[in-house]
Amino acid sequence: MRYLPLTDTDRAAMLETIGAPDINALFSDVPQEARLDGPIHDLPMHASEMAVERHMRTLSKKNLAAADAPFFLGAGAYRHHVPASVDHIIQRGEFLTAYTPYQPEIAQGTLQMLFEFQSQVARLYGCAVANASMYDGSTACWEAITMAGRVTKKARAVLSCGLHPHYVEVARTMAKFTGDAIVSAAPDLDAGCAEDALIAEIDDETSCVVVQYPDILGRIPDIRKIAAALEGSKALLIVVNTEPVALGALEAPGNLGADIVVGEGQAIGVGLQFGGPYLGLFAVTNQKLVRQMPGRLCGETVDADGKRGFVLTLSTREQHIRREKATSNICTNSGLCALAFSVHMTLLGGEGLERLAMENHRLACIAADRLVEISGVSVLNDVFFNEFTVVLDRDAREVVRVLAEKGVLAGVSLGRLFPAEDALANGLLVAVTETTSEEDIETMATALEEILA
């Protein structure tokens, strides 16, 4: 029991101090019929570090890791190179094993980091204020929708057909319980982004319009046009971004007329991890909206000696003070992932982020050009960042399955994302990052040629 420091001698001495005859006496409030008299059956007993590691390694090796295959998956989770120093820093015990900074005098490391993180996210998004992070992009998106409801006192959210279908599902699920109306449609395999159809849905009861940028098919919607259509309306424009690296190459949503910008920050610093933990980003362009924001906020102040310091602030919005009147029930942020994001972003800087973005785009263009050469393949997108949609001459789910058997992780089929939409079944979402080599692109293209031949 390598994690338990007490010896039997210690335990006996402590029971004597307490004045209890044995350990069972300390559990005397548990009703007799609910007490277990020994270790739970059917579970293994304790095991050595070596034995546990061996077991877990066996499970790990059953999976095909992204590094071991030509890899083209995206759809809201992206594989980028994470510098070694990022993982080193997040494993420093002072960061890894700290709790929420409830005592700011001895948590300035976490707090200054959060202040820096908020500032980085605000700049990346073109916003005034960002919070200290949320669970992930999909929950941040729903929180933005509910926030728009609080601000506008309306309850009809209009979602773009280009919003990630899992984000739509989260909103639909939650709206069933809150009574909000969710207006959404599946995308068409059409190069345009259907801004006009979205704008046509805006009415007097609309609380917000939610647009993903770049969208689920890799298209880049005209945010300015939607913002212009909302002039004079109370409804807020929420822009969702699931690939922050794109903002090294594309204009920040806050500069295009967004009121709230939310997204998934996983792509910078965090790694794939089969879906979590990830990093929800949340920002607003107008500081006046801050008091309706969910989640933790870190702010600058001074200490009793006049030195600059940082504290969690505006907690009167939060559940531990407001209880049932809080802006959100959220208690946890994604602090360690925020640290990873912030360290990676510091290593990049504006210069590195732009270089990274353009390298992604360069390789994605190469991939699109190569794939379109294949008979039976067309590329949907005129414009894209590092992810685009190809349309095959058959159901892409089957193609993805066969390619996986050949050791190629070819992308995300639209059938997997939109199982109810037969019209999308031939679509395949292909993401290309700086980790994709030109050789990987050729391997995938050759394998696809064989299948489609």
Partner: protein, 542 residues
Amino acid sequence: MNAPNTSGWKPEAPVDHAKLADGPATVTGNRALMLEEALIFEIGSNDTTGVDLPPVDRKRSTRLGAFARAEKPELPGLSEPQTVRHYTRLSRQNYAIDLGLFPLGSCTMKHNPRLNEKVARMPGFADVHPLQPVSTVPGALEVINELSMWLIKLTGMHAVAMSPKAGAHGELCGMLCIRAALEARGDAREVVLVPESAHGTNPATAAFAGYRVENIPATEDGRVDLEAMKARLGPDVAAVMITNPNTCGLFERDMKAISDAVHAAGGFVYCDGANFNAIVGRVRPGDLGVDAMHINLHKTFSTPHGGGGPGSGPVVLSEALGPFMPLPYASRTKDGVVHLVEEESADAFSQEHFGGIMQSFGRMTAFHGQMGMFTRALTYMLSHGADGLRQVAEDAVLNANYVLRSMEDLLHAPYAASGPCMHEALFGDRDFAKGFSTLDLAKALIDEGYHPMTVYFPLVVHGAMLVEPTETESKAALDQFIAAFRNVASRANAGEEAMKSAPYYAPRRRLDETQAARNPVLAYTGEVAPAGKPTMSERGGR
């Protein structure tokens, strides 16, 4: 009772700080190993980068369309050595469980084993995409399934929803299962009962799930008033949310009777599992009639909390609620294979394996949940085993009672007379000198090298101090903590004026939280300098 240092650590004579020279001022503002650190915005530049990537070729045509950036984003960059130093310096301004006892009640800060970290970084776990073909991730699904099996057996429940991202998200999941189950039987109920001592997340969650919250009072001995609750039960009550052991650190002796009464009235019992560490391996909530309970993997099962997250909040469910759990879920079928059930396969899977009874309420998050936390928690469970986890609860409870009985002569312990506590010991400020507060004691404890306990929670005790040592503290570590705790309690009782200005030795003195809230400064608004122009000047007085 007197100080318990009969063995182990012995306190030296107290340091008389009045006799210590202040010493000369330093040019840098640093004091030896106490190093100040500027913001990245003040030391970085917009042209510096710590990664090697090809420069942007501005002549190359792009397919970015109308919104291509005209200029690179204004974000400070640092080289790798500067980056490592910046964050290393910042890290040294943090308290952490790796540095010492971290007695935050109801937060369960226990040792984080490094094997967990090693395992979570194995490529088959860290480097797999959530939407990879399921044929390429059987090991990941087995981890989810194996962890599910552990959680079900440890709690005596029927099913577990793995996707919730944190404790409060798990609470929401449980409450939505309850609401979905009630709606499925056409039963529209409006009220959720919550004890006064509940975590703030409980009423916030109930409100988010669309319920009206009503408080139920506590008895003199710090537990739910069973009779008051029974009197309030009726056809409008959807659920009762109870924390057990509760936030006063006490086991709810009447839990089974509470559950029976709620069930008889047609409602459900939600249990907040934040304090599961006290009973893991000794009591199964399923045996007490619980219908839903979230489990904070970062509390009971040692996954790191990293300065406030990530968490992970799987929810164990009773037979009545299991069919409503959210998508996606992993499930092992009769053929022994673990399947991933998503929207696409949910109906067919439920027909084939559950006779069509699965009626998921929907999706709570984009992917499967906190896989990186699952691998860590499973690693921890396998390390401890069924026997070790039982010992965890016993040692956690033993340590808390040791603190309780070592302090009760000096500090008001409101429920100490009614019997042992569970995993945390609760004290109040009743015996402090006039004008002295729990905050003063907490800040003085910082000077002694400790992170303070949870303060001003639960709300039912005035000036509450909730101490949770956890099972990963040695007796010597507890003895030293008790000596320090006794010292600061005595000073608060005696009204030592100097305490009101503590902490003296932390990286910062007390911070002005009023100013922070009144004039919020939530982002750095200055410019980021181009390379070669140091911006770190004239910061001294800030």
